[in-house]
Amino acid sequence: MVKSATDRVRTIVVDDDSDGCAILAKLLEKLGCDARACTNSECVSIAETFHPDLAILDLAMPETDGFQVAEALVSRGLRPAMLVAYSGFGDQETISRCKQAGFDYHLLKPAEWDTVYLGG
């Protein structure tokens, strides 16, 4: 299951909840991703070097929310192949807003790990 760094899906997890962010990144790492956890403010700069294939963005974050982070990535040509919204809010409005913002998936916390994986 463990693949080389080049084979592995480069995943970036952005969440203001540091515990949740870190542990998801850790889980994805365990599941074979090349996962990195970061805060919303760090995201763009990391992506510029990391070029993630998958971005898992929390939506409700202070100062810069998930939508803004996604827009920042897209505007800088850093859009990963898969853009996933990952939120505690699962209402229809949030979901449709995600589609509008160009997210490929919306996952509701706490998503099953295999779902996350398959999504990757």
Partner: protein, 1108 residues
Amino acid sequence: MKMILISRYLTAVGLVLAAWAFQALVGHNFGEVFVFVPFLIAAVLTSWLAGFRATLLSLVLGYLVVALFYVNPASPLILGKDNVVALGIYVVIGLSTGLLAESLHRAVRDAEALAGRLRVTFQSMSDAVMVTDAQARITSLNPKAAELLGRSEEAVIGLAIDQIYSIRDERTGQEIDNPVSQILRDGLLATQTDHLILLRPDGSSLPIEHSAAPIQNKSGEVDGAVLVVRDVHERREATRLVQESERRFRRVLENMPVGLIAFDEAANIIVWNKECERLMGFSATEIVEHENALELILPDPIYRHKILRQWQERGNSYRNWELDVCTKDGSTRTLAWSNISREFPISGWASWGIAYDVTDRKRAERHLHRLLAAAPVGIYQTDAQGDCLFVNERWCEIAGISRDAALGSGWAEAVHPEDRQRVSETWYGVAPVGKEFHIEFRFLHPSGEIRWVDSRANAIYDEAGEVLGFLGAVTDVTSRMKAEREHALYMHLLENMNEGVSLATEEGTIIYTNPAEDRMFGYEPGELVGRNVAIQNAYPDTENERIVGAVMERLKTEGSWTGDWQNKRKDGTQFVSSSQISALELEGSRHYLCVQRDVTEQRRAEEALQHSERTAQHRLALLDTIYDTAPVGLGLLDAELRYVRINRLLATMDGKTPEQCIGRPLRELVPELADRLEPIYRRVLETGEPVIARELHGTTPADPGNERDWLASYYPVHGPDGSVVGVSSVVLDITERKRTEESLREADRRKNEFLAMLAHELRNPLAAIRYAANISRLPNLSETDFDVAEVIERQVEYLAHLVDDLLDISRITQGRIRLRREIVNTETIVRRAVEAVRPALEEKEHELTLDLYSGPLPVSADATRLEQVCQNLLNNAAKYTERGGRIRLTTRAEGGQAVIAVSDSGVGIPHGLLTQVFDPFVQGEQTLDRSQGGLGIGLTLVRQIVELHGGTVHAASEGMGHGSTFTVRLPMVESTAAETSHSRSASCDHSTAKRVLVVEDNRDAAKMLQLILKAAGHEVTLCHTGTGAAELAGEFLPDVVLLDIGLPGKDGYEVARELRSTESLRGVRIVALSGYGQDADRAKSQAAGFDEHLVKPVDTETLRALLS
């Protein structure tokens, strides 16, 4: 005369002969010239004696004698010169003497003739004439005078006139002065003609007139008088006779039985006889002496002038015209007047008239006219051709036209157009032949009224049998015709009516029944007549008398009786009739008229109806009550949108009583709503379709300014003909409901927000925990770079804290928190709180400034709770302030209060939200990018706790972006000496850890309890069914069992009893967890062996207390 003339000529001849003789005797002694002298003398003598013509003869004869015998007898006619002169003288003297003598002779002759005539006259005068001298002695008198005086002429000559002429006044008998004496004395002419009487010597007397005149001589002296006396005895007698005759005539006239009146030219009445006096009361004197007597008898000037004019117009003679005169007593009489006017020989023009009194006749005529006029039948008179001459008033009244309009053929216009031709033809067919006329027809009045008349007329004939005209009478038979029609109508009615009618005598004998009566009683037509009414009665004999008696009594007193009657038909069957019996007088005797109707069926129907009416009334009363007491507004409006009915509730909504609303229009009662309501009402009125559940929002005059909501339905109200006559409205005041709904919606919205937030807040730690769990299950656990357990612990703690907050707010909201008060110094609390939140502040790099009061600020407070307040305020400041912001906490004493103020440089609070920030679940702007996490209950807890402490909390902000300040004020207490305790809540006291068995079929609830209890350091085992609970408890041996009551299979009570019966579990505390908290529930759980009864959701504080 001839003899006289001859003698004169003979004288002339004789004298000439004498002269001739003388000449012959004397010869020619005197010459030729003197020849003529004798003859001249003869001529003069002749002229003296025999007149002028004899003188001429004498002259001629003298000349002839001279010429023939004395001058030249040969040529007698040739005289010499001397002879010629002589002849001339002869002729001149002879002629002039002849002429002179002639005139002298004539004068003498004339005087003699005059004297003779005078004498004769004097002698033959019929008046007595006496002449006196200046001494009044009689010088002469004529025979008449002598006769008058009764003396001879000779006897009185020379006597003084006084002696023989004695006169007296006839009337007085006084002697009257002799007029001759008067004249002689006074020289004045005296004449007296009246009343003189001459006393004669024989004692008799004569009526005389006398006059006296003086005789004056040439010198004008009076030397005598003439007294002329006339015997007027005969004349007077003649006059007396004439007067007598006239008197007789007058008496005749006077006493003529007709009035006689004469007028002169000036219209003065000159004759007025006794009949006139009698007729008119004025005496003849009054009339004749009156200057304008006509005015007396014709006082009316207009009438008088009319009469006078008629007189003038009618000429000299007219007969029998009527004159209304006024009598002295003022009454009016009518005279028939005939009159003739002409110039009479003596009296001149006069108008003589006779007058008859026709007053009585006229009165009779007028009376007759009035009689005709006032006759109760219409009377008309026509000429022979049938043209109307007269109609009386009654006729006019019947015909409906005026008298003038009726005259001629005008009457036909009054005849009803449909009858006109028939009447006209009949009438003008009858008239020429003078037959009787009889016809019935109608008059049509201009008013449209119709009069039926019976008109009859008979011809009137003159003596010769010719038709003079017709006299007819018209009788108004309208009422008769009406009566006939009515009779026919009544008969028709009687024959055809459904009610039975019978007429009976007082004894009860039926004399009339109508067909309905016969049918009703089952008899042949007329069969009942002659029978007694008793056979119609169905009452038994015993009762009959009483009932009939009562009816008869009633009839006697009231005249009529109305009621139901039990009847018997001919076949014996019975029926009930509604009868009306009335007493009436017919042909002088009492009868009873009975009108009845078979009401057997009707009575049954009525009873049913009455029953249903009672029921309906009952229902109506019920409806009324419901209407008035219904908890909804009910109103009924008519088509003009006026309230016909309104119940109290609806009226109250409009601020009125129902009575004030009735009859008033909708617009007047709710002017602000009318614009919206009226179209609805109209629509219902027009379409007949109800309008259901229409919501309405507005204000009413009753409660202006307070907007209310109603839910109203409008239903059409149909009249008997199905048309919509009104609208019934049902109005529900839903203001409170709307408010409740609104607040519920708001609460629901907040709840949803809260749930979303809660979910969000829960998902984060859950996610972390899940992944931690995932990781721990992964094979390569050897990696130690990540402390999975630590993550889980942290997240669970967060969750527990979350749950605590939730439970706190629930508990505080329900007032179930109990403060553990102690005297604490505010600073202690503040510092403790700052320490607790410092990690969060540091994480967001906020700069916290503490500005603490130097002195003590002792308050009586639950230290834990107050610390919670401060923590929440600080957390709140940290949350809503951008990273690296400034937060300042100040404490101070102010007016006996301890003040804790937390201000920040954060986002601030919109002004409108200042009062709401303390409400549950209210957060700042709800956007993901601004999401600060948390449940929005922190400030709610702050306020609730502060208020529990008797303090206040206040939020202030300059607005968005200007930060905010929360200020808590708590009452200070006297002393801080007691401030020693630093006790913390039991939750942190791990020494009291208990073994807890949670029996709860809701796994999540059980899990949550487990989490909470575990977080508090207790050992927890879960059991999800009742059946295995006791067994598990026997193994686990808990200190406390938290036992849900509503368990599937075996309920909590049963489990409790099992636990209590288990020996090994002696002393265990059994706590009931129930959704029910009533006393009965508590009692029941206690009976089952529970120690405590907690109502879900169980707050952590209670749990802590329970387990400590």
